[in-house]
């Protein structure tokens, strides 16, 4: 029976707590009597017969929707869109959920005699997926059947011939999506809802959209008014996407949404990595030895080897539920399932929020976590994993632990390098950044060329990373990074400390000497339900 998440009040007999530190770990002792640690729930049991559950969901849809076989007719145009490389995190063992769902959908399509099928990786302005990544996501059978004929493609948001403008919402937000998808008789969207931000109308309205559409909700104002963007009902990001969903519906775009949830079994319950998922006082002798050995081994390895070792980890997380049918009905059930795994009740806020950042974010799979992504992972994702109020009070301090190397992947993140060198050197204020620099980067021809032909994130993407931090930057008083490269941290506009104790010392300038601390023991993923 998996235990729920809980909040531990740190006292003198609490052992040192595990902090993730990029491609490494630290054990930190939090001050007793004024710290608490939020532990995630243990992984829920996965579905025993996932393929059967998927078929069942397709035949028994939620909301006002016919079963999928009834929607498939010979001679129709079918588009299957699926989530890109940014999900799940870390990548899961084969067979991927998307492979299972897509094969089930295609089975029904074959039975119905559908000929015109196209599969699109709905990556919006993310980077194109490589062949190996696509094979991992959809499986070799589907890849070999569709890719050689050009029927399995990456969405190209900068292809003027493949975008269709569908209208504007009542708040002036333009809706423009992939033309093939818009012209289809049916879009089947295959989601992996890793966190409660994913899914719903965001899948089609963002995943298949262009810059013209995205800039209406990927901006500072929207992010500052999303408290948090993980909570659909208090998120301006979601409201905007839902408005766009209405435009899509009115324009006649039919979407059969399939959403799936996963448990948070990131490191496994057995094996050498399982120690990272266990509560520190429950580490047995074998765990302690394997942790010490792992830490010692990692410290000796060169950075590149460490990085490739971590990036090659495939997590054993598995599907816990699958829903299909009408977008909003499906999303409601899915979100409830996501909350069931992630939510941990937390009472009140503290002065300081600490977090250990792991090696992976949605935007550096098989790549390098550069300083901008460090900020986005900490102040964007981890900070926003709350419902109600942030676990840290307004004006408090956020302390993140990550080596923050001044290193960028030149193929995946070329515009990030320029953003870091040029824009952040000038200012770190998101509003100024948006006003003065976004347009130049968004319309730069070279970035556009690399996005379309190489494997680079779009020129405007680093801006989105910075906007993701906008709510946190507005809310907290100071941000400190422990163990990071000093120059890089300063360029981000944060303060650098070498140890957690130093960081707490520095924080006392902002929050006073006896500040209360919350530590998010994340990953595995948890979401604080703060009352």
């Amino acid at each position: 029976m998996p235990r729920p998440g809980f909040v531990l009040d740190v006292d003198r007999s609490t052992p040192p707590i595990l902090f993730h530190h990029g491609e490494g770990f630290r054990l930190e002792k939090l001050p007793a009597g004024r710290s608490r640690v939020i532990y995630p729930a243990e992984p829920h049991e996965p579905l025993e017969h996932p393929d059967a559950a998927i078929r069942d969901a397709l035949l028994n849809p939620l909301g006002e929707s016919e079963p999928l076989p009834a929607l498939l007719k010979p001679g129709m145009k079918l588009t299957i869109a699926f989530d890109d490389i940014s999900l799940p995190l870390p990548p899961m063992k084969r067979p991927d959920i998307r492979q299972r769902v897509i094969e089930a959908v295609l089975d029904l399509a074959a039975a119905a005699g559908v000929d015109d099928v196209m599969l699109i990786a709905a990556l919006a302005l993310h980077r194109r997926m490589t062949e190996a990544e696509l094979r991992h996501a959809v499986g070799d059978r589907v890849y070999d059947a569709f890719a050689p004929h050009g029927l399995l493609v990456n969405h190209d948001a900068e292809d003027p011939d493949n975008l269709e403008y569908l209208g504007t919402t009542d708040q002036g937000e333009e809706v423009e999506i992939n033309k093939r998808a818009a012209d289809s008789d049916l879009i089947v969207y295959v989601n992996i809802n890793l966190v409660s931000m994913d899914g719903g109308w965001k899948s089609t309205a963002t995943g298949l959209a262009s810059y013209r559409s995205l800039r209406h909700h990927h901006n500072v104002r929207t992010m500052q008014h999303s408290r948090s963007f993980m909570d659909q009902h208090r998120s301006e990001l979601h409201s905007s996407n839902w408005r766009m969903g209405k435009v899509l519906k009115d324009a006649g775009v039919k979407v059969f949404q399939i959403e799936t949830t996963m448990n948070n079994n990131v490191f496994g319950t057995e094996g050498p990595m399982s120690v990272l998922q266990k509560r520190e006082w429950e580490w047995n002798a074998k765990d302690r030895i394997s942790f010490a050995a792992m830490k010692a081994g990692l410290d000796r390895l060169p950075q590149r080897t460490r990085r490739s070792a971590f990036q090659s980890w495939q997590a054993p997380h598995a599907m816990t539920s699958v829903q299909a049918g009408e977008v909003e009905a499906v999303h409601e059930v899915t979100t409830a399932n996501v909350y069931a795994q992630h939510l941990v009740g937390v009472e009140g806020q503290t002065d300081i929020l600490t977090m250990g950042l792991p090696y992976i974010s949605p935007y550096n799979v098989n790549s390098i976590l550069n300083p901008i992504l460090v900020a986005c992972l900490g102040l964007g994702y981890f900070f926003n994993l709350y419902r109600g109020k942030p676990p840290v009070r307004e004006g408090g301090v956020v302390i993140m632990s990550h080596p923050t190397p001044w290193e960028f992947h030149p193929v995946h993140h070329p515009s990030y390098i320029d953003f870091f060198e040029q824009v952040l050197a000038e200012t770190t204020d998101p509003i100024r950044i948006e006003a003065e620099f976004e347009k130049g980067f968004a319309e730069d021809e070279w970035y556009r060329h690399l996005y379309r032909t190489s494997h680079a994130y779009h020129g405007v993407h680093p801006f989105y990373m910075w906007y993701w931090c906008a709510h946190a930057l507005q809310h907290v008083g100071q941000v400190i990074i422990v163990g990071g490269d000093v120059r890089a941290v300063r360029r981000l506009g944060f303060k650098a400390a070498s140890t957690l104790q130093d960081a707490l010392e520095m924080a006392s300038d902002t929050v006073g000497p006896d500040a209360t601390i919350t530590h998010l023991h994340n990953p595995p993923i948890l979401m604080a339900d703060v009352t």
């Binding site: 017969h49 996932p50 393929d51 084969r94 067979p95 492979q99 295609l106 089975d107 074959a110 039975a111 119905a112 005699g113 000929d115 099928v117 499986g139 070799d140 059978r141 589907v142 070999d144 059947a145 569709f146």
Partner: protein
């Protein structure tokens, strides 16, 4: 060559009577002339019997006196060969070493198998299953032993033809040890073989079986018998259909020397016996599944699914036409175009 030619000790009167030449001369002659193999073997056996007669008293086989009732000799080979010893720990350890150290490298050398569809087995956990594959060549068994994934590979037994693989002590021992075989009657599965197989499956062993019964004589499949289906229903384990492509090119029935050639093994979705399904109907299902896998290996998965949905999957047994047209149609089946072998003239 006239019968009167030759010096002493040469070919004498050999019109059906005992040949007045030595055994060694006879075997030499047999090697050089195109003679029926079984006759040649018979000559060999005759030679060994002659050798046995030459041994001193206690070592040679005693002759039976007249008027005595001889005990019935129970054949210990063939279907009666007891293979339990091959499933003891030391024998299994030896088999693991043989499979990993000898069979796999040799198979990689000759057959370089491409394995597809293993992810379809991800949900099976560790329960025993019955692998049902098409059969074209003796190479099928080593190839399957190499590609079946853990946890089934080293927990596997194979139903092998009793008369061929368990013909004598030597072949029986080798079959049981190296490939973990148990004897199965070729013509009709007897109670004994079936019970033995069922008992093993219940014990957690997985089975590899070729439902066609024997190797394909002409490259096309034969109809699938009910053995795999019967066992699956009786022991309530799923059947994993497997399609093996290319082993016919390596070592076809009738040939003795293997020729390297690439192979493809495609695993299919496990087939679970339905409520009250009978083995004949399930055998048809299994054959259809393997046929779909053959289609998938030959073209791609989507086209195979479309043809399966429309009922157009090409049959494993080939067209019902004459022999040369069947062989002709075989060439169409192979996936991809074979690059014509270019040979430059010797000048």
């Amino acid at each position: 060559m006239s019968p009167d030619s030759g010096a002493g000790g040469g070919l004498g009167d050999w019109a059906g009577r005992r040949m007045p030449i030595s055994a060694r001369q006879a075997t030499d002659l047999i090697k050089r002339l195109p003679v029926n193999r079984s006759v040649a073997n018979g000559a060999g056996r005759a030679g060994t019997r002659a050798l046995a007669r030459a041994l001193p008293a206690p070592l040679r086989r005693p002759t039976a006196p007249d008027g005595v009732e001889l005990l019935p000799v129970k054949s210990k080979v063939g279907a009666n060969y007891d293979t339990d010893w091959a499933r003891t720990y030391p024998a299994r350890a030896a088999r693991v070493l043989l499979v990993e150290g000898l069979i796999r490298p040799v198979v990689d050398l000759f057959a370089t198998p491409t394995v597809k569809g293993v992810d379809r087995l991800a949900d099976l956990g560790e329960q025993p299953v019955v692998f049902a594959a098409n059969h074209h060549s003796h190479i099928d068994t080593p190839v399957m032993l190499s590609v079946i994934p853990e946890p089934w590979r080293h927990h596997l037994f194979i139903g092998a033809a009793a008369d061929y693989f368990f013909g004598n002590q030597v072949t029986s021992t080798l079959s049981a040890l190296v490939i973990g075989a148990i004897p199965i009657e070729r013509t009709k599965v007897t109670r004994n073989s079936a019970d033995q197989a069922a008992a093993l499956i219940d014990d957690g062993w997985s089975m590899l079986i070729f439902p066609e019964g024997g190797r394909s004589p002409d490259g096309w499949g034969q109809s699938f018998r009910g053995g795999a289906a019967y066992l699956s229903i009786r022991c309530e384990v799923p059947v994993v259909p497997v399609h093996v492509e290319g082993t016919g090119r390596i070592l076809r029935k009738g040939k003795n020397v293997p020729r390297p050639s690439p192979t493809t093994v495609t695993f299919g979705d496990p087939i679970v016996p339905g409520e009250g399904e009978d083995s004949r109907r399930m055998a048809v299902r299994i054959e259809a599944a393997v046929a779909q896998l053959a289609d998938e290996a030959g073209s791609d998965w989507w086209q195979a699914r479309r043809r399966a949905a429309a009922g157009d999957t090409p049959s494993l047994q080939g067209p019902s036409t004459g022999a040369w047209r069947r062989t002709w149609a075989l060439g169409d089946r192979r996936a991809g175009r074979r690059r014509p072998r270019r040979s430059w003239p010797e000048v």
